[in-house]
């Protein structure tokens, strides 16, 4: 009984809590954060349960109001959407637990609107992933984006300007996507993704289909921060409050990447995508440029949050690269990287928030080796996430890069392979820089004794989510064969 309604339950949980939080938050302000934790926790449990039932059964198609698919709107819970929903809701649950302390300190008195907006944004993201209707996807995209702009605007002094720039670029992207949907609607007469998949092969040579594909890739590429369209990302992530960044950075770009997967591999299929022009290869080259650009810019940054933001530009490149390879290994690598990067980025941004609370800044040039004794567990989690980001075995980050590399070899695509290797070295440069500051003595200052600081660890409510995410990176690293086995079954060809 519950299985057949599951896709709707996941989205409705967030609707319910986005209403409950203002209602109860007005009465008692301190209730907002626990309610948000409960809401995202329930959604995470639903997603986990749904993914387990999917593995034992078949995809779930939920028709709203009982109207069958091409006429009514449906939610589709198949392998791809189930996996993404599970990843984003699980990460959001941990971020919500962590954000209690940072939100109380960074914007006191505004918790109720903050958490209500966060729930609305999660509703938008879950809706984008689950819906089986292209126009419905646009509506959910705008729900998620509008609440995302508001969340980014809560923060430092320049935050509203960063959010405004994101709004202009993001809305223009959304509008181009809508135009692409319009083109597809005029040639096929349907908006349902499954219905349209069946019709598009008959229109392989149609210019409108190619134009629609390009418009959709550009429009969604803005949201995914694909290389030339990434301009909004560094400023938004740097100036937004720590808790908003920790929520948006791991989730937002992944959801946009999900739409690219759905459009290129499912809706059009890789043969149709490349029928007129080598679009998937062009997307892959853009991803490569993004990987190199993001890594080099991250090395040049001194501010930890800004460095992580540029590193996001580069990491999203890996995911899109795996998509453009369009073979099983590349796909598995990209999907595993979605999971790994969501966990690593959430963990790193949460640590940046903790350091900001404790030290009042997250400026890497002012880090020193007293952090080692002051924040032993925070720094241990940081090291695990950073090493996983670089991609050293046996941590999770190594395996996603490994499967991506296998994918490039399968396609004999040596350019992409070289980019993966070079960028791993560049990642090592910017993360080892931080680890060196924290764990090594500074040889230039003639120190003989390491600096000692009094133990000053963050509160358990922040430390526990960070540590769990760091430990899960090790677990995923060891369990990668099982996860990849599941992911290879999802691959559509």
């Amino acid at each position: 009984m519950i299985e057949s309604h599951l896709p709707a339950y996941i989205a409705l949980t967030f609707v319910l809590f986005s209403v409950l939080i203002p209602a109860l938050g007005l009465w008692k302000r301190n209730l907002s954060q626990p309610l948000a934790v409960i809401g995202s926790g329930i959604a995470a449990v639903f997603s986990l349960y749904g993914f387990v039932t999917y593995l034992n059964g078949s995809p779930i198609r939920y028709f709203f109001g009982g109207w069958e698919a091409p006429i009514g709107i449906e939610f589709v819970y198949d392998g791809l959407s189930g996996f993404f929903v599970l990843v984003i809701n699980a990460v959001a649950f941990f971020v919500m637990i962590h954000s209690g302390e940072t939100s109380r300190r960074e914007f006191p008195g505004k918790e109720m609107p903050y958490y209500a907006l966060a729930m609305l944004m999660m509703l938008g993201f879950n809706g984008m992933i689950l819906t089986g209707d292209l126009f419905n996807l646009y509506v959910f995209l705008e729900i998620a984006s509008l609440s995302g702009y508001a969340l980014i605007a809560i923060g430092e002094k320049p935050a509203p300007y960063a959010a405004f720039r994101y709004l202009i670029i993001g809305t223009a992207g959304g509008t181009l996507y809508l135009l692409g949907v319009g083109f597809l609607y005029t040639i096929t007469g349907t908006l349902n993704i499954i219905d349209m998949t069946a019709m598009l092969p008959m229109l392989a040579e149609s210019n409108a289909a190619v134009a629609a594909l390009i418009l959709m890739i550009v429009g969604i590429g803005v949201k995914a921060a694909l290389f030339p369209m990434h301009g909004w990302l560094p400023d938004s992530y740097t100036y937004a409050a720590s808790s908003s960044t920790a929520l948006i950075a791991p989730i937002g770009t992944k959801v946009a990447a999900y739409i690219l997967f759905r459009v290129i591999l499912w809706l059009f299929g890789i043969e149709l995508t490349d029928a007129v022009a080598p679009i998937s290869y062009i997307v892959g080259v853009l991803a490569c440029l993004g990987i190199l650009y993001g890594s080099i810019m991250a090395i040049a940054q001194n501010e930890m949050k800004r460095m992580l933001a540029y590193s996001s530009v580069s990491q999203i490149g890996y995911i899109i690269m795996g998509l453009s390879l369009a073979n099983p290994w590349g796909f598995a690598g990209a999907m595993l990287h979605v999971l790994n990067h969501a966990i690593m980025k959430a963990c790193l941004f949460m640590i940046a928030g903790q350091l900001r609370l404790k030290e009042g800044h997250s400026d890497i040039s002012r880090f020193n080796d007293s952090y080692r004794t002051k924040y032993p567990w925070t720094m241990a989690s940081f090291s695990v996430a950073a090493i996983s980001m670089i991609g050293l075995p046996p941590l999770a980050g190594f395996f996603s890069k490994w499967y991506l590399a296998l994918g490039t070899i399968d396609n004999s695509n040596w350019l992409f392979l070289a980019v993966i290797l070079i960028s791993s070295l560049l990642n090592a440069v910017y993360f080892f820089r931080v680890l060196e500051k924290v764990y090594m003595m500074d040889p230039y200052k003639g120190q003989t004794e390491p600096k000692e600081g009094a133990y000053n660890e963050s509160k358990a409510s922040m430390l526990i989510p960070t540590s769990i995410l760091a430990v899960s990176l090790i677990v995923i690293g060891f369990a990668n064969a099982i996860i990849v086995g599941i992911l290879l079954d999802i691959f559509p060809m």
């Binding site: 705008e142 509008l146 605007a153 002094k157 509203p160 405004f164 709004l167 809305t171 509008t175 319009g182």
Partner: protein
């Protein structure tokens, strides 16, 4: 050839509006003007959807006793128009958020000129 231009004039106007919108977003320095450009861009897509659903010799999609239901060609397709109602609402909400952000920017920096803002932030 001339038919191609005169036969699609609704689309030419849509393309013109789209270009004006993109021009406003890219080249205007004032943030309010950028927002106006964004609104024009959105409206051009709305007009595109409205244009694809219109046709000659057809009536509104309400059952008319003079036109039997099996002659569907005599009714307009209502779907693009209803979709655009939603898109217009989304556009209004976007403008609302944009102006709220601009008020907040103006309160903090007392300017809405892009170059001055960038100078003040750095």
């Amino acid at each position: 050839m001339l038919d191609f231009f005169t036969g699609h004039y609704a689309y030419w106007f849509t393309i013109l509006l789209l270009c004006i919108g993109v021009y406003g977003i890219l080249f205007k320095k004032n943030l309010i003007k950028k927002t106006i450009g964004l609104a024009i861009l959105q409206i051009s897509v709305v007009l595109y959807f409205v244009a694809i659903a219109s046709k000659w010799d057809a009536t509104v999609p309400v059952l008319d006793p003079n036109i039997p239901v099996d002659q569907v060609a005599n009714y307009l397709n209502p779907l693009p128009h209803t979709l655009m109602l939603t898109a217009i609402v989304v556009g209004v909400a976007t403008l609302g958020v944009a102006f709220t952000l601009l008020i907040s920017v103006y309160n903090r920096y007392e300017t809405l000129d892009e170059q001055e803002l960038i100078d003040k932030i750095q």
